[in-house]
């Protein structure tokens, strides 16, 4: 008898080819994606440097950092510019060498260079600190010792120079500062994709849609009426979680409340319209749920929410930029933690706006055809 049930379940599954496709394709896609994507070993982390010394010694430090393959160095023209590069997100790290570095080195005065890291993502910060070690390792310092063999024997300290590390934006490297803003996005994604995702399929499956379509309500009023409650719930949730973050986890205040609200609105619009699209393409609630999860899982893993974007190889990186959540993470961390300027976030805002236009447009087209 159990066999009969098993057989029946399998038969039912087989009659839903879309679901089968989802069940088979999803693990494959995710496997390949994560097999390639999740190396957890960031590469080519952008580092802005300002070298005022421009000497053989300072070059030695930069070359060694570069050849390690971890940092991708580029020059900016002041110490302040380094911090701004990191604030904008263009760089994750910075290196400052002042103009009397080599003279102090020669005088055996143990000069200091400054290494800056972005503290927003503590795991990346730790990795960057570790890799910044190649600035001071033996390969660099040995060459400094044996520069002038015939010179009089000067006592050289163990370390010819020191490196000072400054963690920017999240100096205590609090994990909650890093996670909480992203969690807001994940929760809104879940509410929007799953609740909205099943909302219309459900009316269809339960046959209430037919009964509703004979009433004079216009299709657009129907959709707006169906979506608005979820929009409000999602926006309310956004501030609820933020409120918890502010009161319990000392989450910093945003640089601009207006920009934060704008983010909430645009992001919720993207997610709700995507949920609507899911609801319109799905034939059953099961399918809708599956598609929603299919979107949520890679969004969490490939967006830079948990793993830094720098850890995602170039082949997979374009997918990261196709995920709306990626831009949400960038903006909310920028607003709350780094106080990034709007000009540096405008592209991310624009991306979210385009996503919402695209999903709403696609929903309208699909909606006209299918209802």
């Amino acid at each position: 008898m159990i066999m009969a049930i098993i057989k029946k379940e399998l038969l039912q599954l087989r009659r839903d080819p879309r679901l089968i496709a989802l069940i088979l394709i999803m693990p494959l896609v995710l496997l390949v994606l994560f097999g390639i994507a999740l190396k957890l070993e960031p590469k080519n982390v952008n580092m802005a440097y300002n070298d005022n010394d421009k000497s053989f010694f300072s070059n030695l430090i930069k070359t060694n950092l570069w050849s390690d393959g971890y940092f991708n160095l580029y020059e900016v023209n002041s110490k302040k510019a380094i911090i701004e590069e990191i604030r904008s997100g263009r760089a994750k790290a910075g290196l400052y060498i002042n103009s009397n570095f080599s003279s102090e080195l020669i005088e055996n005065a143990q000069p200091t260079i400054t290494f800056y890291t972005d503290g927003t993502m503590p795991s990346l910060t730790t990795a960057m600190k570790y890799h910044s070690g190649s600035a001071t390792d033996k390969e660099v310092t040995n060459d400094m010792y044996f520069l002038d063999e015939d010179a009089q024997n000067v006592v050289i300290a163990d370390d010819p120079f020191l490196m000072q590390t400054i963690v920017l934006f999240n100096p205590d490297e609090k994990e909650t500062w890093f996670f909480l803003p992203g969690v807001i996005g994940v929760l809104i994604m879940q509410i929007a994709l799953i609740l909205t995702g099943i909302s219309i399929v459900r009316e269809r499956e339960k046959k209430t849609l037919e009964q509703l379509l004979v009433t004079p309500i216009s299709k657009s009023s129907f959709i707006i009426g169906k979506l608005l409650p979820y929009v409000l719930i999602a926006v309310a949730d956004f501030y609820l979680i933020l409120g918890v973050g502010w009161s319990l986890f000392e989450l910093p205040q945003p640089s601009s409340h207006l920009l934060l609200f704008l983010l909430a609105v645009v992001y919720v619009a993207v997610m709700i319209s995507l949920g609507l699209l899911i609801s319109l393409v799905s034939k059953t609630q099961q399918q809708a749920m599956f598609i929603a999860i299919f979107i949520i899982v890679p969004s969490i893993l490939l967006s830079g929410f948990i793993f830094p974007l720098e850890a995602i190889p170039d082949v997979v990186r374009p997918i990261s930029y196709l995920i709306p959540f990626t831009y949400f993470v960038e903006i909310i961390r920028g607003l709350l933690i780094k106080h990034t300027l709007f000009t540096d976030l405008s592209n991310a805002y624009l991306a979210l706006l385009l996503f919402s236009v695209f999903f709403i447009g696609a929903s309208i087209i699909k909606f006209k055809k299918s209802l």
Binding site: K206, K207, L209, E210, Q211, L212, V214, T215, P216, I217
Partner: protein, 300 residues
Amino acid sequence: MIQAQHISKSFHNIKVVNDVSLKVDKGKIFGLLGPNGAGKTTLIRMLSGIIKTDTGDALVNQLSTEKAKPYFGYVAQHFGQYEELSVRENVEFYAQMYNVEDKQWLDTLIHRYGLTPYQEHFAGTLSGGYQRRLALVCALAHNPKVLFLDEPTAGIDPVTRKLLWDDFYKLSAEGKTLFITTHYMEEAQRCHELAFLSAGKLVATGTPSNIKDALGEVYVYTTTLEYIPQLHTALQNLEATLLVNQFGEELRVILKNATSKTLVEETINAMTSQPCTLHETNANLEDVFIALTQEEESSL
């Protein structure tokens, strides 16, 4: 009040409704008959604007279905109200779809269908009969001129069915036009006018008493006899036979000509080895229904 002008609809290149024209006058109860899959539901859905016609026009109250929406109500074959909402919430919801806010009117309506004690119950917990009543109340909430009912009494006990029909007559007396699909003969008998749909085509229209003419000139005989399978086959194979039907101990034979009567008697006598008397009678709706359905099926 309701008009269909040469409407057709195909799904996957199969004509489900094929060039149907009909007209229903105000205050009439119009019954659409037909076997399962004949296209009844598709037709009623086109008339009520849920699906578009491929060709032809459907008019309600002289308006295109889209514009006529405020003037008609529709009850689907399946329960389509919200199970998680209470009876009252459902009724109010549908009333608001038509901007009807008159609570007293809704109270009267709920009372009229005996739902007052169940007002606060969730629609999903009601029995089948009460769900039907609720669906009807929701469809009547805006006091429409026309009511489309897709198999309104399918699976309903005879008592509730009678109650519903008594009510349909009242609605009709109030001047409402009712369009009902059914395959219950007893129910068809109650309609003012009937149309018979078979394989997407209207094959007969008329009042319950004159729709029988659709069979043309036929001769109906009846006798009391136990069911004998071989006899049925033998009778069915006679050239003149249109239909052989057994009701308990009653055997009904419909012939295309009166002269074959003796042949039928002989066949019966040969099989039962006892003399039988055939009484002539009139075709009933069930005879018409089955005969028309058979004709259509054999001509496919």
